[in-house]
């Protein structure tokens, strides 16, 4: 405890220097904390979005990302087959079609999500009702579209399919049943969801039985992996991915840049922090070599003096590290807002996400930084020749 008091007295004796040191560590620590939040933020946020949809297995026709590859043929039979598996609780067919508003001078492009109205929806109703039991003409629309076109539950809207060769399909009349939040919507997306058959009818295809993907919810007692394995056994020609697989895939490809950049920046930041504290402590020790030699001469053990240096380092890093948390949180909000302005990023996807693990790693890294920073000044103090130092002090 005496070493701790010695360190405290050294710190408070030079408040300006100590404050600047703590502020420097706080700035560095805030950046380090943010890089830790960034390193897994996208993964956690993406996982949350996937879970929000309420389905943990996806069935597609090829190994490309959903909506980028070919469609599943005979989707209804496939959905029935999958629904009959004991590991599966629910199956939902999803078909996405490009559409546009059929009225007004400016034709707004809209993404139409077709799904089975009787199955559990992939969206969250925020106003009005869902499409279940309301027929093929019922729609739910997202908030952005509702605000832009001033639509509310009960409003009517006409949509035309953007179908290439079948561009001539007549517009379809719909009634807005409710307003919903779609997990993967961007801030400016215009999304509507309606019956699966309506998605086909937009392009005049009433008999086509295809789907972009099937989303499957596994039974809690079986789990996603067991459900995926059962589907693969039942149909070898389809591609089955669990939410975990998707997260891993995105972690390896789409999100890897931010993970790597966070590692690089965290390393640089930590190195910078160690350098900062090491220089502060070394200069401080060099300025007080005479005092340290005197303390050693009057009986303070080497261990106690060395402990004092380590405690001083711990105090500066600890105080800076604690200050770094609110600073880093505020900074992460700013940085997150910058990155989320990227085009095509879902409105609910975040780059910086807090998790207790980040806090633990932050504390561990700063503790390591405190020890590493104290290493050189400790060496100076430990190897200090008492008599020669006192003599040099007296002569100078």
């Amino acid at each position: 405890m005496r070493a701790l008091r010695l360190a405290w007295l050294t710190v408070v004796r030079q408040p300006a220097r100590s404050c600047l040191g703590i502020l420097g560590v706080a700035a560095v620590g805030a950046l380090l904390f943010d890089m830790l939040l960034l390193s897994r933020g996208l993964i956690l946020s993406f996982r949350d979005l996937l879970d929000r949809a309420g389905f943990d297995v996806r069935v597609v026709a090829s190994d490309t990302l959903p909506f980028n590859g070919p469609r599943l043929e005979d989707a209804t039979a496939l959905a029935r087959l999958i629904a009959s598996l004991p590991e599966v609780e629910a199956v939902q067919q999803v078909r996405v079609a490009d559409a546009e508003t059929a009225s007004g001078d400016f034709r707004r492009r809209i993404e139409f999500v077709g799904a089975d109205p009787q199955a559990r929806p992939m969206w969250t109703i925020v106003a009005g009702q869902d499409i279940a039991g309301r027929g093929e003409a019922a729609l739910v629309i997202n908030r952005h579209l509702a605000q832009t076109l001033r639509l509310s539950p009960g409003s009517s809207m006409s949509l035309t399919g953007r179908c290439g060769e079948a561009q001539g399909a007549p517009p379809l009349a719909f009634t807005v049943a409710g307003i919903a939040e779609f997990p993967f919507d961007t801030a400016t997306a215009d999304t509507v969801a309606g019956a699966l058959s309506a998605a086909g009818r937009l392009c005049g295809r009433t008999t086509e039985d295809t789907a972009d993907l099937l989303v499957v919810r596994s039974r809690p007692d079986a789990g996603a992996d067991a459900a995926a394995a059962a589907i693969r056994r039942a149909r070898r020609d389809v591609h089955v991915v669990t939410s975990d697989d998707l997260v891993q895939q995105f972690n390896r490809t789409q999100f890897s840049y931010f993970r790597q950049i966070s590692v690089v920046l965290a390393t640089v930041t930590l190195f910078f922090g160690v350098l900062l504290i090491a220089v502060l402590l070394t200069v401080s020790v060099n300025q007080h070599l005479g005092e340290i030699a005197t303390l050693r001469a009057i009986g303070l053990t080497r261990r106690r003096v060395v402990s004092g240096i380590v405690w001083e380092s711990a105090m500066l890093v600890g105080a800076g590290g604690i200050l770094a948390l609110p600073l880093g949180t505020a900074l992460s909000v700013w940085l997150d807002r910058i990155l989320r302005s990227m085009p095509g990023v879902p409105a609910d996807l975040h780059f910086f996400v807090f998790e207790p693990r980040a806090l633990v790693i932050h504390a561990l890294l700063l503790a390591m930084a405190a020890i590493a920073a104290a290493a050189y000044p400790v060496r100076i103090v430990a190897a200090l020749p008492i008599a020669a130092t006192l003599r040099r002090e007296a002569v100078s």
Binding site: R17, A27, L31, S62, G164, S256, I338, M342
Partner: protein
Amino acid sequence: MVFQPTMTAAFLISVALLTQASPTAVEPAGILITRQLAESRGLTVGSVVKLATDPAGAHARLFRVDGIYEPTPDPMHFAQPQLDARMHLPDLLALEAGMPDERDRRGVTSINVALSDRDAERFALDVAARVPGLVARATSAPDDRTNTFIVVERFHLAIAIVTVVGSAVFLLALMVMLVDERRSTVGILRLIGFTRRRILLQVFIEGAVIALAGAAAGILFALASQRLFNGFFQWRYDTTLVFLRITPSVVWRSLAMAVPFGIAASLVASWTFLRQQLLALIRR
């Protein structure tokens, strides 16, 4: 004005099925494949492969690999391996024939046009006026996709600002300590007649020299490490994309930030002592 629809090289297909096939009597059409595709599937020039747009391999056709090319790095998709093949447009259309999906309709995604008078903006307006619904744009026109990089640049700038603030605090702490060390020297200089202004000028020059030397060392370090940084990311993503480039503009911006900060830190730290009474400086 020359209309030149590109018959090769402009259309990339996602390879749904790619298998090496035995050569047959029918001469297969030639294709080019990316180095990444060749390496991942062990293909060489002369290999005969089967390509299909259907995941089950329906309507597959044979192609011969005529060449392997290094793809132009695409910053939008650098995290994904570029497994691309390029083929003549008629071969692509033939490959897509019979696809039931409207997404695979017969048609082209874009037509590249080489202009003789180079007035691309006027040409784009002319096309838009004559063919409503067709989007014509100059290749030099701003692209929405560049917004991604503008955002990434803004993010890096924000990180740089935080780093600079941290460095400034660090520098100030150091300068306070260094000036404190010189307290008695400054006192003696004042005693022998040096004015505050002259001492401050000396500190200013010293601060400028240290800041310039520090900034130069930082720039040299960045220049030396940029190859390492690029090498790591190019290896990681198997691309020739350049991730980090120290340009003259970056150098000047670094100097413009670092040198004034360095000088300011020296002056602020020194001024706190110079304001003190002479006797306080020499601790009497």
